[in-house]
Amino acid sequence: MEVTFSQVVAWIQEFGVLIGKNKEYLTDLDSAIGDADHGINMDRGMRSVIEKIGESVGGDGEVATLLKTVAMTLISTVGGAAGPLYGTLFLAMAKATSGHEHVDQRDWAAALQAGVDAVKARGRAERGDKTMVDTLEPAVAALVGALNDGASSADAWRAAESAAEKGMAATVPLVAHRGRASYLGERSVGHQDPGATSAWLLIKAAAGAFGS
């Protein structure tokens, strides 16, 4: 099944809505082990994104161009570590889908995989470092695995969403190795990572948009 332009728009919009709703929750998580601004920064960035892509809604266009707009807007408005990391994710997805006339679910999963790989390279983070990678990597692995096994896109995205949630929850007992939380060392243990949490919202929004 093909991934449509309007599905991608719906994904981004739903991510913006979820970030807005969970702004305080993300900031609270960040105040325990970081500097209390993750929700605020992501909300500022996603508001700009929604405004920027407003014209595209209901229309038709290039998925790659849309993703690039999202990337550049996040890079220039979020700041912190989240700006370059989410920006890099969308930029790599834009590259992966550029020039494709049709993007099917497998191409889309591959684009997401490229996005996650780029995030790992930019942040020099691996799974287990207590970052967004802990949510994204298992989610994409579950998605790709399910699609390879011939699952429907609905089932594949359900698997991705549940893997993302497990990955996020698994950051609680970890010692942070990247980002500001790493400066707390052992004191970061027992807190859910805010980046892993916003990444879960990203996958949750994607499951809603592409899993039907």
Binding site: T27, S31, A32, I33, G34, D35, A36, D37, I40, N41, R44, I75, S76, T77, V78, G79, G80, A81, A82, G83, P84, L85, R122, G123, H177, R178, G179, R180, S182, Y183, L184, G185, R187
Partner: protein, 333 residues
């Protein structure tokens, strides 16, 4: 939250408007992308020096723009690193043909945003060198962490490199000097209270009346350890010991001692800390030959202080003493 502001959204923009108006003889403020730049930039043939980071640490960095220190500073949102487009625009604005040095504090976000900006500037043919400052001994440096935080040494590096650039040294020389300052400086901080990020509206962490945090950073993040409140005498020992052991500083060393307020601690307490530090170092035959006491790298209204020691040689002393004229630091000019 009790703050003298107009709106949470416009804190940084309103602040910059005031800074620009108050110091129009030294700097100008550019908005979208936002940066603060010397009025006479770019200075032909001089290495440009750009730093930046989250707002909320004033006077660092915007208050250090002017003659003999920074050519431009990129302020991010409160406690949030600036974005690559800001840094790239500032880099272009100060490039006088001799290249640009980026002085970056070691925080994941700062490092990534400056890295992306350097890539963009390089693509436009500007020579950029970046030096990452990581002087905080509170953080265990290992292969598995993002390394140490950049704190007080940043102020000293900006002053010393600013003087060297003003003298006409090359980009390679100024960058090497910046690495030297970083390698010879160590810091550690403590907090008596937390602070309130305007957009969050509440204290970042709660600290009891009889508690203090040792080994904090400059973003209101908790420190390494929470301990019962102690005297200035005891606190100085807790901060100075790990600093001196780490480099290590030895008997006979000459140092610059920097006692910094996190924003909410008055000079009265800073001088008490300075005096304790002077005695503590004196007992170990470590000689203070230059000092800096005051709020230079703050954390909003947080109460607390940090200590930075920099091992000096004749070259560093000469550059430290060189004239500087910025809103936050001025002597000899």
């Amino acid at each position: 939250m009790k703050k003298l502001i107009n709106s949470v959204e416009n804190v940084v923009r309103d602040e910059l408007a005031g800074l620009g108006a108050a110091h129009a003889d030294l700097l100008k403020v550019v908005i979208d992308p936002t940066y603060v730049v010397r009025v006479d930039a770019p200075v032909n043939g001089k290495v440009g020096i750009v730093s930046g980071g989250g707002s909320g640490h004033e006077p660092m960095h915007t208050g250090f723009v002017g003659m003999g220190m920074l050519d431009a500073a990129c302020p991010g949102e409160v406690f949030t690193s600036p974005t690559p487009d800001q840094v790239t625009a500032a880099t272009k604005a100060v490039n006088g043909g001799a290249g640009v040095l980026h002085i970056v504090k070691n925080y994941t976000g700062d490092v990534m945003n400056f890295e992306m900006a350097a890539e963009l500037a390089a693509a436009e043919g500007i020579a950029v060198e970046a030096v990452v400052i990581d002087d905080d001994v509170a953080v265990t440096d290992s292969l598995y962490t993002a390394g140490r935080r950049g704190v007080g040494a940043t102020v000293l590096a900006e002053k010393i490199c600013g003087a060297a650039a003003q003298q006409g040294r090359s980009l390679t020389e100024v960058a090497a000097l910046c690495r030297k300052v970083n390698s010879q400086a160590r810091s550690m901080g403590m907090a008596l209270t937390s602070c309130t990020v305007p957009a969050a509206g509440k204290l970042t962490f709660e600290l009891g009346e009889q508690e203090m945090e040792i080994g904090i950073g400059i973003h209101g993040e908790p420190g390494r350890q929470r301990l019962p409140l102690a005297s200035a005498h005891e606190v100085v020992a807790m901060l100075a010991e790990p600093i001196v052991e780490d480099l290590p500083f030895r008997a006979g060393d000459t140092v610059l001692a920097f006692v910094n307020s996190m924003g909410g601690t008055p000079l009265m307490e800073l001088y008490i800390v300075y005096d304790e530090l002077r005695r503590w170092l004196g007992d170990r035959q470590i000689n203070i030959v230059r000092s800096l006491v005051g709020p230079y790298m703050t954390s909003l209204e947080m109460q607390g202080c940090s200590i930075t020691l920099l091992r000096l040689d004749d070259e560093l002393i000469e550059l430290w003493d060189a004239p500087v004229h910025t809103p936050g630091m001025r002597w000899g000019a």
